[in-house]
């Protein structure tokens, strides 16, 4: 067991898979010699060399297109898009190419690749370098979508993503990069499509993703201490496939549902889950499901504005407490 940052876990996860499988290659901007702009890929270039760790020009379309061409002909590429906001300049591959080639070709073509990207707010980068865009990927049939919240999950889900035969969009949260966590020694392989109950509780279910997981956990402790409300916190981890069994199971026990989402409100992942719960577990509920989200706004740069935009511990506590008291 070692203590590792989320940032170092990225490099370890990639290294684990590149060591295992010589067909895994890694490409992106500044990912090699520079070790990544977030220093999440330090050491990979030195370990695996320029043939496998490829520094690319600022050409997001070429990066994703080349990853796809390599994937469909036999390699297992991991491609980095530095900021998830940049998906917008290469969205053709994410929306039209990766996820549709298998279907359109009636199963002739495959696209086993991973796109990892820095997602989320907290760095005061403003509206074009801070977004949470998991829902951009979640809405497209043919993609798989994960967003780990801990160093251990980064490694395990990276392994699962690289070994998966479908295109996987891997959202790393920029504000989690410096966060440390316990990571077991040796190979770690997790499973896509699995949520994790990270804090058991009996009074309410709080679903969270990525940076919102530690906030939901802190809020749960406060709710217990200050209000005696015992919340179960579920780290959703995987949006596609979605672990509805774990989610519905938790709601079935607690009878209340809260989602904590970093994305702007409209069409966030929580909306889909609330809809599923309303369809399939309506009579399990003792109160209306509540979504705690960023407002429907672009993100501001100023710290005091960004801080009040995202769901924070106090807001989660307040919303859950008010809803549970009414």
């Amino acid at each position: 067991m070692a203590e590792l940052t989320y940032r170092d876990a990225v490099a370890r996860g990639i290294a684990q898979e590149m060591t295992r499988d010589p067909d895994v290659i890694f490409l992106g901007e500044d990912v090699g010699k520079a070790g990544g702009v977030f220093k999440a890929t330090v050491g990979l270039y030195e370990q695996f060399g320029p043939r496998r760790v490829r520094d690319c020009p600022i050409s997001e379309q070429a990066i994703l297109g080349a990853a796809m061409g390599a994937a469909m002909t036999g390699l297992k590429p991991i491609a980095e898009i530095m900021f998830s906001d940049f998906f917008a300049v290469c969205f053709d591959y994410i929306a039209n190419e990766f996820p549709k080639s298998r279907y359109m070709s009636n199963g002739q073509l495959k696209c086993p690749l991973v796109v990892r990207t820095g997602n989320g707010a907290g760095s005061r980068f403003g509206a074009q370098h801070s977004q949470s865009v998991e829902n951009w990927a979640m809405m497209i049939p043919g993609l798989k979508v994960v967003a780990p919240s801990t160093p251990r999950d980064v490694i395990g889900l990276m392994a699962a993503a690289v070994r998966d035969p479908d295109p996987v969009i891997f959202f790393e949260h920029k504000s989690l990069y410096p966060v440390k966590g316990e990571v077991p020694d040796g190979e770690i392989v997790d499973q896509l499509g699995t949520a994790k109950i990270v804090r058991p509780g009996k009074d309410a279910t709080i679903l969270a993703l990525a940076l919102m997981v530690p906030r939901a956990l802190a809020a749960a402790e406060k709710l217990k201490a200050e209000h005696g409300i015992d919340c179960e916190v579920v780290d959703v981890r995987s949006l596609v496939p979605l672990d509805t069994q774990t989610i519905l199971g938790s709601v079935g026990r607690t009878h209340r549902l809260f989602t904590v989402e970093e994305n702007p409100r409209l069409c966030g992942w929580g909306a889909e889950i609330v809809s599923i719960v309303a369809d399939e577990a309506f009579y399990d509920l003792d109160g209306p499901p509540v979504r705690i989200t960023t407002p429907h706004i672009p993100l501001p740069a100023a710290d005091i504005l960004e801080d009040i935009a995202l769901p924070n511990v106090d807001r989660i506590v307040d919303r859950v407490h008010r809803s549970m008291s009414s």
Binding site: P57, A66, Y93, E97, N106, G142, V240
Partner: protein, 351 residues
């Protein structure tokens, strides 16, 4: 075989050999007959697709390569098995040229169960991995980077195949074209970019919307590549350019960008009567019809009219047979709706 019985030696590398070299020039009789047959097959199949559209048997859209047959025939004929084709929505010709059966192509256009993708892809997405046709891409420019990736794999694994990427003149003005060219040049990838310049991006003349006269060739220098313009209506010229580019790619010499001058006889898509073209332009180009040119070429090389006529008859019969099979074929089964979204064969997004 031709009545005169002579066999071609082929491949002696005599670039630009004149017809004085006789049938034993660098292309040779077998290859010429192959390229003639391919061009006629494409011509007849595309014409049939148009006729079937008029009968409402081809649904959706379709983009024909009538008039552009020599580009498809020349590049495909110079390929080796294992080389990979990446096409656009105007991809019927390139798909047929790799040996995909006519029935499979027409069946897909007619949205029948015998189609290449059983009706799931349609006219714009013809794919036959077993023939090296790695997809037809309907978003302009998308497949140039994808072809780079296939070439990157070949380079990485030490494979000798070449990725060949076909696109129109309009593609040269989208970002992915420039990203892919730079990418391929920087990494010396074994990829050949083939611009079919048919003078119109869709309905607008390419010259009206492009900063340079030759939309592909005049951009080559920006990526350190040779400026190559080929008569795209002469299959021999196309074949020679293709062979040179493939040899260079296989030898580790990196990418090529080839601009083929050609002309489409029909509109952009089935909805386009091409009224925007100046009077007489089509007629002028039809004088340089690639099949007409090539028929004459075969005669110059001593191939008998009976041999040519036999190819024409055989192709027409095969297109007729394919058409009848497609008309008799059922539509795709309804369960196909949800298959092959994910690699497990289904479309499940939850447990």
């Amino acid at each position: 075989m031709a009545k005169n019985g002579a066999r071609a030696s082929g491949g002696n590398g005599a670039q630009g050999a004149s017809i004085d070299a006789g049938i034993n020039d660098d292309i040779g009789e077998d290859m010429r007959l192959t390229m003639y047959r391919l061009q006629v097959e494409i011509r007849e199949s595309e014409q049939r697709a148009f006729d079937l559209f008029l009968q409402n048997l081809v649904k959706g859209t379709s983009h024909l390569s009538l008039g552009q047959e020599a580009v498809a025939a020349g590049f495909a004929a110079a390929m080796k098995p294992g080389d990979l084709s990446f096409c656009t929505y105007r991809g019927h010709a390139h798909t047929l040229a790799r040996g995909v059966p006519i029935e499979k192509v027409l069946g897909e256009l007619m949205q029948r169960d015998n189609g290449l993708m059983r009706g799931k892809g349609g006219s714009m997405h013809l794919t036959s991995a077993e023939h090296g046709v790695m997809g037809s891409y309907a978003i302009i420019g998308a497949h140039l980077p994808i072809a780079c990736g296939a070439a990157l794999r070949a380079q990485y694994k030490g494979d000798s195949d070449v990725a060949v990427c076909f696109f129109g003149d309009g593609t040269t003005n989208i970002g992915a074209f420039h990203e892919a060219l730079n990418f391929a040049a920087v990494w010396k990838l074994p990829v050949v970019f083939v611009c079919e310049n048919n003078l119109y991006m869709e309905y607008t003349p390419i010259s009206e919307v492009t900063a340079v006269e030759h939309p592909a060739a005049d951009r080559a220098a920006a990526y350190g590549l040779e400026r190559i313009i080929v008569d795209g209506n002469d299959a021999d010229a196309v074949y020679r350019a293709a062979r040179t580019a493939y040899d260079k790619a296989r030898a580790g010499g990196g990418p090529s960008l080839i601009e083929c001058m050609t002309y489409r006889h029909s509109g952009h898509s089935r909805a386009d009567p091409a009224k925007y073209r100046p009077e007489g332009e089509l007629d002028k180009w039809k004088e340089r019809d690639p099949i007409k040119i090539y028929r004459e070429r075969l005669r110059q090389f001593g191939i008998g009219d009976d041999v040519i006529a036999q190819i024409d008859v055989d192709v027409k019969r095969r297109v007729d047979e394919a058409t009848e099979k497609c008309k008799a074929a059922p539509p795709p089964s309804l369960d196909l709706l949800t298959t092959d979204v994910y690699a497990d064969g289904g479309f499940a997004w939850r447990n």
